[in-house]
Amino acid sequence: MGQINQKYVLAVLLVALVCVPLILTNNYLLLVATLIGIYIIVNCGLDIVFGYSGQITLGQAGFYAIGAYSSAILSIHTEIPVIFCMIFGGLLSSFLGMLVAIPSVKLVHHFLAMVTIGFGEIIRLLAMNGGELTGAADGISFIPKLNLFGYVFETVGSYYYFVLACVVVFLVIKHNLVTSRVGRAFRSIRDDNAAAAAFGINVRRMKVTAFTVEGFFGGFGGALYAHLVGFISPETFALQQSVIFLTMVLLGGSGTLWGPVIGTVLISILFEALQPFGQVQMVVYGLIIMVVIMFLPRGIAGTLNDRFNRQNSKKLELSSDAS
């Protein structure tokens, strides 16, 4: 019953999302909607490391930057089709994620947080000092648009559909990954390191795997961003961006399929609404993080899940009483 309901809800949601460009005629709002899609992809990757594997990471903006810069540079200086540049951006970011993860997964939370911050900062500083290749502080402009089978995604509206398709693909990948054997291994590591190891899980290798996956999600998201906006500069990839990503996951509910999606949408809308107030925007942001951790530590999706499960278990208790 629940299964069927869920399918209907998803179908309705998808139809609604397909209709968005028809309703949102305002180009700016459509851009925001497309960005939300990109953030969802990035945050799904982040959630695999943070929510499912329980490893703190604040280097998401670094992965995002690697994907954006490598795809932009490749598509400007070579003839390689943009779609392959994007995939390359994802793969490179994934590879670097693995390289960083191998020596750092042995560290406890706060040290790991610092390593990932250091990683993100180094990437940003390299972009800042990369000379002609990265355009230093000016960044890279005139990044070519995506071109698929001769069709150029010139307008934001058309690109929105491409991003939407990517979001669906990445959500399916995430769903399949976290419900697989690997996903269960991730969760067991999050819940108890030693117990996971005792059950024969190679803890370090699993953590490296999580970071490698995160790198691909983040890098591909960055590439999507670069070819959407057509301009990138180091400012976009500051530590603040990593914190924003993490807040989205945290508010929505980490370690759930829909949590990061909900959080991304809510925070993005809130962000746009607070835009006219300037600095207050970030003050509210800081407050949200503290309040959520104080009162809603499992996020929106997590809290809803808990409530749902409690009701279900009550029903179970009742029926077992009856029998």
């Binding site: 329980g54 703190i56 610092m114 390593v115 990683f119 180094i122 942001y285 800081g286």
Partner: protein
């Protein structure tokens, strides 16, 4: 040689600032077993309070110093009582408390921007801005003062922690809360006071640096991270390690900006931080950075 000495002096000066922040990281780690991301922002706040009291209000330096110190101490105490303590009490995982301090950091930084604006401010030094000349070498008096004040604070902290009754209580509370409580030590107060001291140190660092680098709302971010680097390099949780680490990080930064390239100094510092965490996570002195098997 002259260039070398000049760089070394500059390195020691910023190193002293990192050392002050690093000591705070280590104290907090020993008291609550946590990392805080707000140290850099308390450092910034200390600088802004200095600017407010000495430039806007016009108080003399010898009033400003204890005033800023006391205010920051109170703020640190409050942070622990209002935010960190309750989170620990309800059993939140360390990962979430670390995130809460990140939220606090964003909050403080942007509040400062709302209150004081986003432009930079200048704070005149009590010792004057004219450099003194020793042979070929120029030394700004404030720089020397920073190094000596830091060393002085370290000695004072050592005496306070090891010889005084309150300091002994703080160490006991950090080591074993239950045992300390049974011996009649007010553990809640002790942990709060430790946070107060840590934040106070960061505030004093901000006060000292204000005449040299000026005051902006963003000044805390990089310094906060480098203060952490100092604590890690020296051995996380050790106060003396943090001081040694602070001077080391300062010197590395100064020499890499002098001999390699100014714009790469931060890359080098973070590179060293990562290298230390990868190769020798326990730092120069032993500490518990490793998690699994």
């Amino acid at each position: 040689m002259q260039f070398f000495i000049q760089l070394a002096l500059g390195g020691l000066m910023v190193g002293a600032i990192y050392a002050l922040l690093g000591m705070g990281y280590s104290l907090i780690y020993r008291a609550s077993g946590l990392l805080t991301f707000a140290q850099g922002d308390y450092f910034m706040l200390g600088a802004f309070l200095t600017f407010t009291f000495s430039v806007l209000v016009g108080l003399p330096f010898f009033v400003v110093l204890p005033l800023v110190g006391a205010l920051m101490l109170g703020l640190g105490f409050l942070t622990e009582r209002v935010l960190i303590g309750p989170l620990i009490a309800r059993g939140s995982g360390p990962i979430y408390i670390v995130l809460a301090t990140i939220g606090l950091s964003i909050f403080l930084q942007n509040m400062a921007m709302i209150i004081w604006g986003s432009q930079g401010f200048h704070v005149p030094s009590v010792m004057g801005d004219m450099p003194m000349k020793f042979g070929d070498i120029y030394v700004v008096p404030q720089n020397l003062a920073i190094v000596f004040i830091t060393l002085g604070i370290m000695v004072a902290l050592h005496i306070f922690m090891n010889k005084s009754k309150v300091g002994t209580a703080l160490r006991a509370a950090a080591q074993d809360k239950m045992a300390a409580a049974t011996l009649g030590i007010n553990v809640v107060f002790a942990i709060g006071l430790t946070w107060g001291i840590s934040v106070g140190l960061a505030g004093i660092a901000g006060l000292l640096i204000a005449p040299i680098f000026g005051v902006t709302a963003h000044m805390g971010l990089l310094v906060g991270l480098k203060g952490f680097a100092a604590a890690v390099v020296g051995g996380y949780g050790s106060i003396y390690g943090a001081v040694i680490g602070g001077f080391l990080v300062g010197l590395i930064e100064a020499f890499s900006s002098g001999y390699i390239d100014l714009s790469f100094k931060d890359v080098v510092v973070f590179g060293v931080l990562l290298l230390v965490l990868f190769v020798r996570p326990e730092g120069l002195l032993p500490s518990p950075a490793l998690e699994d098997l």
